[in-house]
């Protein structure tokens, strides 16, 4: 690559003030998510150097005062003066929005921080930032506060001619963020992911607060990523299949492995961004996989195959990793790839690659075939069982479970369904609800753990059947959001630890069988109160111990009467309505997924068959738990 990376390549598009006014728009939120996004942005800058082929080492340090340092051995941000702006390019990159090399296609062939808001946003949201550049045998430095330079670009030392790099240290602005406490695990997870996606790059993380450090370097890249995802599962064959190809500017690699679970995990990345909503690359991959396996089945088994996509994807773990210039992102969260040419490219790479792989590795091909054929048998059996229950329900008149207390309104958009723990709470909820738009479905005890049970067994479970029938969308491949009968599915369980357990079981079911229900924001968690406090004939509900302590302090001398609610059944219908069901006064939380890969790992670890990872997790996080004795 002969293109120069100098000040001329930096183009300026917008002003930075907007960031400070509306930080949420640029980094997602002012909560922990946004805070960690800062690190991602800076690291993405280094990753861009990796993608351009100039960097193979990144180090991230979380300092004891919650400052973060990110350093790389890339080319270093240019420090010479920009011809149009008469300012150092470094200062432009750090202080002007949408300034960066990425808008000039020649400098970076592919880049991840594609929206280019990049490091200037981090600067605007940091109370202190220091950029150190190693370039042309010199060390350059500039410091900033809340996006404004507090020193000129200075030479502060010399360095070996060949050594280059960028080092950025920043302290997030405590006035912007709710908390400036970085979580090691959160940072490490993204770094590990980047190391997987960029084979051979060494990424180190060090936490000076807890003296923890890790180094991520995976020569195997996404092959090791797939192994990592399957680490707590029983795999069908030991080494993932790796396919790779390049067409035009698009580079694609795919790693595939099957495990014995019934779960499908496909993660598709474009320029290191997780495309959670899928897109052309994912549909190309799915089509090619189905075709390749069906064709192979036809050739070897010599009969017309009836393997459906869902059979082929049962127990599949796959990573698709694409590097391309100018990706078009669409969809609600801008994570669906829209470039239509990618579909064909992936299709041919995967189809041709797999066909060749199957010829060369007949034994692996055979176990995959066996696995998918048995999946299709189970699917047919399950289908029959489902049809049977449908028929039965038709005979019984209406397919609604007997325990559901439906609401009178017809419009699903206005309607809510409360899935309630236990019949005793269900009774309170039924009497306390507004029957116009609130339906109640009581669930008995602890529902089946779907992570550990097979589809057939899950579908024969009474409680699960009731939930599926009440929600109305169908499950898995049959899921259809248009048939959703209630736009708010609210989980309401007791405010004790068993209630928490039931919540995790319900979420596991929804995540595995109706993931789009969660992804599209229809699932809520009701928060029942912990305490009722009565003081001089006035009542109020409190939702946490902290609130209680605050109230106790406020009403120091007054006598207050505290009732601790152990279960929903303890509340009168009127109280339940006021505290958890009345839309005007209740507190409820909408469930969203922050990181699909973490969510997926969590579910297999917490709810799966393998005990050891779960035990380890519990041991590591034991101190964070809220105990109920």
């Amino acid at each position: 690559m002969a293109n120069e990376y100098k000040a001329e390549q930096i183009k300026v598009l917008k002003d930075l003030e907007a960031v400070k006014r509306r930080p949420g728009m640029y980094v997602g939120s002012t909560g922990p998510r946004g805070l960690h996004h800062l690190v991602h942005e800076v690291v993405d800058n280094s990753i861009d150097e990796v993608l351009a082929g100039y960097c193979n080492e990144i180090k991230v340090i979380i300092h004891s005062d919650n400052k973060v340092t990110v350093s790389d051995n890339g080319r270093g941000i240019p420090v010479d003066e920009h011809p149009d702006y008469k300012k150092s390019a470094l200062e432009l990159v750090m202080t002007v929005l949408h300034a960066g090399g990425k808008f000039d296609n020649k400098t970076y062939r592919v880049a991840g921080g594609l929206h280019g808001v990049g490091v200037s946003v981090v600067n605007a949201l940091s109370s202190y930032l220091e950029a150190t550049i190693y370039r042309d045998g010199k060390i350059w430095r500039q410091t900033y506060s809340r996006g404004k330079p507090t020193s000129p670009v200075e030479i502060v030392g010399d360095i070996d001619e060949g050594k280059t790099g960028t080092k950025i240290t920043f302290a997030p602005d405590g006035e912007v963020f709710e908390s400036i406490e970085f979580e090691y695990d959160r940072v490490a997870r993204r770094l590990r992911e980047l190391a997987f996606l960029n084979a051979g790059v060494s990424i180190e993380i060090k936490d000076e607060r807890f003296a923890r450090e890790e180094k991520f370097k995976y020569e195997g890249g996404i092959v090791e990523f797939v192994k990592h995802l399957n680490k707590s599962r029983e795999v069908v064959f030991p080494d993932p299949i790796y396919l790779q190809g390049e067409k035009g500017d698009v580079q694609a690699e795919v790693a595939i492995q099957y495990n014995q679970s019934f779960i499908l995990d496909i993660f598709a990345f474009v320029n290191d961004i997780n495309t959670q909503e899928g897109g052309t690359h994912l549909s190309g991959f799915k089509a090619a996989l189905t075709r390749a396996i069906n064709d192979y089945a036809k050739r070897t088994e010599n009969k017309e195959s009836i393997l459906m996509g869902e059979d082929i994807r049962e127990g599949l773990t796959a990573i698709i990793n694409i590097k391309m210039p100018d990706p078009q992102f669409e969809g609600q969260t801008k994570t669906r790839l829209g470039n239509s040419e990618v579909r064909g490219i992936i299709d041919s790479i995967v189809y041709e690659g797999l066909t060749r792989y199957f010829e060369e590795n007949p034994s692996t091909a055979k176990v995959i075939l066996q696995k998918t054929i048995s999946a299709s048998r189970v699917r047919l059996a399950a289908q029959k069982a489902r049809e049977l229950t449908r028929k039965k329900e038709a005979l019984g008149g209406g397919s609604m479970p007997g325990k559901l207390a439906a609401c009178s309104e017809d419009d699903p958009e206005k309607n809510e369904i409360y899935i309630v723990e236990g019949d005793s709470a269900g009774g309170s909820a039924k009497q306390g609800r507004d029957r116009k738009f609130q339906a109640i479905l009581p669930i008995k005890g602890k529902i089946i753990n779907v992570e550990k049970s097979h589809l057939v067994k899950v579908l024969s479970n009474t409680e699960i059947k009731a939930i599926i029938a009440a929600v109305g969308t169908g499950i898995k491949e049959e899921f259809n959001i248009l048939r959703l009968r209630y736009h708010k599915v609210i989980l309401m369980s007791d405010a004790d630890v068993d209630g928490a357990h039931i919540r995790t079981l319900l979420l596991t079911f929804l995540y595995r069988y109706m993931p789009d229900l969660i992804k599209q924001g229809h699932v809520y968690i009701a928060q029942p109160p912990l305490y009722k406090v009565t003081n001089k004939n006035k009542e109020c509900f409190l939702y946490s111990d902290a609130e209680l302590n605050r109230l106790r302090e406020k009403l120091k001398d007054d006598k207050i009467d505290v009732q601790r609610y152990k279960g929903l059944g303890e509340m009168n219908p009127e109280q339940l309505w006021k505290a958890t069901m009345d839309p005007q006064t209740r507190t409820s939380y909408r469930v969203t997924i922050e990181d699909a890969i973490e969510a997926n790992e969590l579910f297999s670890m917490l709810m799966g068959k393998d005990v050891e990872p779960r035990r380890k997790f519990i041991e590591e996080h034991a101190t964070e738990a809220e105990l109920d004795i």
């Binding site: 939380y589 997790f617 105990l627 004795i629």
Partner: protein
């Protein structure tokens, strides 16, 4: 109509972690695992404490189990009634506990797996041995904490004058970990405790001079003592447990008599299993099988056909039926609020440390009381001396 309410978000990952952790840790710390000091799970401790409060002492009349269960539920243990009653029943079963802590009147189930009578029928009072667990509770020997609604106090641990963890054992499934402690002989473990008091640095080998192995209430024979030693050293290991049998000969006929079965084996399932195997001819030579158990004890009789050898059949029974089982020892208990896998030596050590503290606190309490008394007497003396 669209109701406007503020849209609070919660991340699925965070919610899962938080909810699961609080459930897992609560089950581990305060439900499924026994405390290393008194060997009791919270529900057991609460039952015993509630019974002392009700005055159900060994020398008093029995009271309905339902009353005890109600007392425990209402005052100390806000969970399901069946959970409490099941725990109560188990403490009264002489085939589950080496030394039952509760003296039961009525049907409390049997080794055949018959269920106990409902709690409205059965009656209970504390067994004499429980006195030793509860003794000195009123002398400030242990800490008390508020109950769930802050209206009463309950002990966090019992004074425990004998090492109940090892004597009665425990089994429990928590989250990510389980415990399975076999019962032991009271005299043996007590000797081991005394030996450790005299020699705090005592080794596992030396302890094993006193404690020969588990002592199951249902009897049986333990094979492979090497595994046993390892289990006691590391706190984890598998031992093989076999029922006790003999061969009777009469008129040239042989019959196998089973007099003891392995711990926690259901006698009915064992007999059914043997019958099935005989029926399918997987084990040949069994003519009939009769359960002659009565109030004097277990007696299963297997009639052997003339041409077959009893010893061979017996070996087949060991192999294919629960007449021989493995018992996975896991000495896991709560130490300082955390689960810890204990060696035999550590289990005894923690118990002794607890006793030491109890004794110190009791002595201090008594001293305090006597000093107060002395103070009053002192005062009275002075007052008397000035009367004139």
């Amino acid at each position: 109509m669209a109701i406007e309410e503020k849209d609070n978000l919660v991340f699925l990952e965070d919610e899962m972690k938080k909810s699961y952790l609080s459930y897992a840790m609560s089950v581990i710390v305060s439900r499924a695992l026994p405390d290393a000091r008194d060997g009791l799970k919270p529900v057991q401790r609460r039952i015993l404490y509630a019974m002392t409060e009700l005055g159900l002492l060994p020398n008093r009349p029995y009271r309905k189990s339902a009353r005890v269960t109600g007392e425990v539920l209402g005052k100390l243990h806000p969970h399901g009634d069946m959970a409490v009653y099941d725990a109560l029943v188990r403490m009264a079963q002489d085939f589950s506990l080496r030394h039952p802590l509760i003296d039961g009147q009525g049907n409390f189930g049997s080794v055949d797996g018959d269920p106990p009578a409902a709690m409205r029928y059965t009656e209970v009072r504390l067994a004499p041995l429980s006195n030793e667990l509860l003794n000195d509770l009123d002398k400030d020997t242990v800490d008390f904490i508020p109950n769930f609604d802050n209206s009463l106090k309950e002990p966090v641990v019992l004074p425990a004058r004998f090492p109940n963890l090892l004597i009665n054992g425990a089994s429990g499934i928590a989250v990510g970990m389980t415990t399975n402690i076999p019962p032991h002989n009271l005299a043996e473990v007590t000797d081991a405790c005394i030996a450790m008091i005299n020699n705090p640095g005592i080794t596992c080998d030396e302890i094993l001079q006193f404690v020969k192995g588990p002592d199951f209430p249902t009897g049986g024979i333990i094979l492979e003592s090497e595994n046993l030693k390892k289990a006691y050293e590391e706190g984890r290991g598998k031992i093989t447990l076999r029922g006790k049998s003999s061969i009777e000969r009469e008129d040239g006929r042989e019959r196998i008599i089973i007099e003891e079965i392995p711990y926690q084996v259901n006698k009915t399932t064992l007999i059914e299993k043997i019958a099935d195997l005989a029926h399918e001819e997987k084990i040949k030579g069994i003519k009939t099988i009769r359960d002659e158990s009565d109030r004097t004890g277990i007696r299963i009789v297997i009639e052997v056909s003339r041409v077959f050898t009893s010893e061979i059949i017996l070996n087949q029974l060991y192999k294919h039926t629960p007449l021989q089982t493995t018992f996975g020892i896991i000495l896991l208990a709560i130490v300082n609020g955390k689960p810890e896998q204990l060696s035999l030596a550590k289990a005894i050590k923690y118990y002794l440390e607890h006793r030491r503290e109890v004794l110190i606190r009791r002595t201090r309490y008594l001293l305090d009381k006597e000093e107060k008394k002395a103070h009053i007497l002192e005062g009275l003396k002075k007052a008397l001396s000035r009367i004139d």
